[in-house]
Symmetry: none
Subunit: 299 residues, 2 copies
Amino acid sequence: MDIAELLDSFVAERTLKVDPQIKSLVLLGKIHGQNAIASLEKSSFQASTCESQPPQLNDLLTNVKLINCNDVYYWSAGMVSQDLLNAPGLKLNLIYPATEKHIRKYETQSHHMIRESPQMYTEKVLPFIETQKGDRIQWVYNILFHGKEAESIVYNDADPENGFVLLPDMKWDQKTMSSLYLCAIVRRTDLSSVRDLNGSHIEYLENIVAKIRAATCGAYDIAADELRIFVHYQPSYYHFHIHVVNIAHAGLGGGFNVGKAILIDDVIENLKMMSDYYQARTLTYQLGEMHPLWEILQE
Amino acid sequence: MDIAELLDSFVAERTLKVDPQIKSLVLLGKIHGQNAIASLEKSSFQASTCESQPPQLNDLLTNVKLINCNDVYYWSAGMVSQDLLNAPGLKLNLIYPATEKHIRKYETQSHHMIRESPQMYTEKVLPFIETQKGDRIQWVYNILFHGKEAESIVYNDADPENGFVLLPDMKWDQKTMSSLYLCAIVRRTDLSSVRDLNGSHIEYLENIVAKIRAATCGAYDIAADELRIFVHYQPSYYHFHIHVVNIAHAGLGGGFNVGKAILIDDVIENLKMMSDYYQARTLTYQLGEMHPLWEILQE
């Protein structure tokens, strides 16, 4: 079928997602009565060309309008120069007919900032965390105790008390160094999140972090001070684990953002300042409306 | 000076940065023999409009060309519909004349994690900060004391001691709600960074943050718990200011990442726990090699 004809028949019914960073938009609509998903993304400036020879402004844009200026700073809006064959302004992916599973994959959820007091933690969050153990983290135990993913393990400290397993995160393609992403999963099973840490864990954490740095720098061409090492609160599963990322990775989907990530160095320094820091502090973090905790915290 | 005339005189000499994800390009060039930086970024689809009523494809694009298809998946290229007044294809920021510091800020550079002890702060960082005052932050004083950008101010608390000015950040297009980005600049001139804050500033900060939340929610269709409010350490200029961003905004060039951003709620809670928290703590943050502090810290 002709693409122009398909797109002409597309009647948009709902916006599934808008990403202002990536400059993308996903629309759910109907073509001849059947669900279809149109996903649009603005095109980037061509990196390879730009680096070898800088383009001139009048090849890139036309018609500029000044919005404001202050001192040496001028900001304006302009029109992109485009050309369907060599420099199209956007790419468009169409899924037709689209299933319910396709639709769910593209939908977004709203996030909110939560200020979790120690009391909220004890009364609402901790009981929720208890429901997230057992079968739900069986896959973690499979890695730790049953040799799952053994072939991809970067470093294995088998000590049952102080040990951990370091392995590539699912989000990493295991090739692109600038997006290096590893995960360290501790062997002990009594720590669910940063809320469980206190002054007695300082040496334990320092030992793990030192070994993470050494093992990562040994396995990959990266320096210790080029690693962003952090935990999540709330984490996506309640068995203590540490994220290890190339500092050059600017982040995608918000996983390195303040309000979600906490530097492990900050955790250690805070514990040194006050042993019960993570029991006494009101913690502020973002939570999506699809997260099961969201409803619990609304009660 | 006329912006069109300035841009016509711009001769590109070097590509400082291309970001294929963000769809941005930063060029270094000359205008009348002086350095200038032109930074271009494709515009996003207008989230607010898209969310209230899904746009139809023929309002968004023209001329589509099929690239490939497989089963229910079709990929194509197209031309963006644009209009200088209501839907410009890109925004362009010009810095002219640009200093070496401006240039360094935009160039692609390696970053490192710094562990700044209180002693390092006193001996190396504080003397550096003192050199960053005066003319370098004249543009801040222009906003605070000389009515610059007065027309875009969202909220103005004129109290010389406790007041601040809230206005759209240069990085925001002032339209796309999901990438809402404001900046609150305090009126008092004695605070350079989070390192200057102590227990005596708790009430001062709480008052500002409450007013930021109220003013932002009053001016825009957003709830208080949908705002990510934070400071940077190191900040890009040493006059205390607070970033205010829609939580739905997943990040821009790493500016919301842990290791760079600190939630203002965390700052306040830390000060409540320990009055001299930000004088006593070793702070971990990322620093680019082009940052003038990098060399100082190597000595």
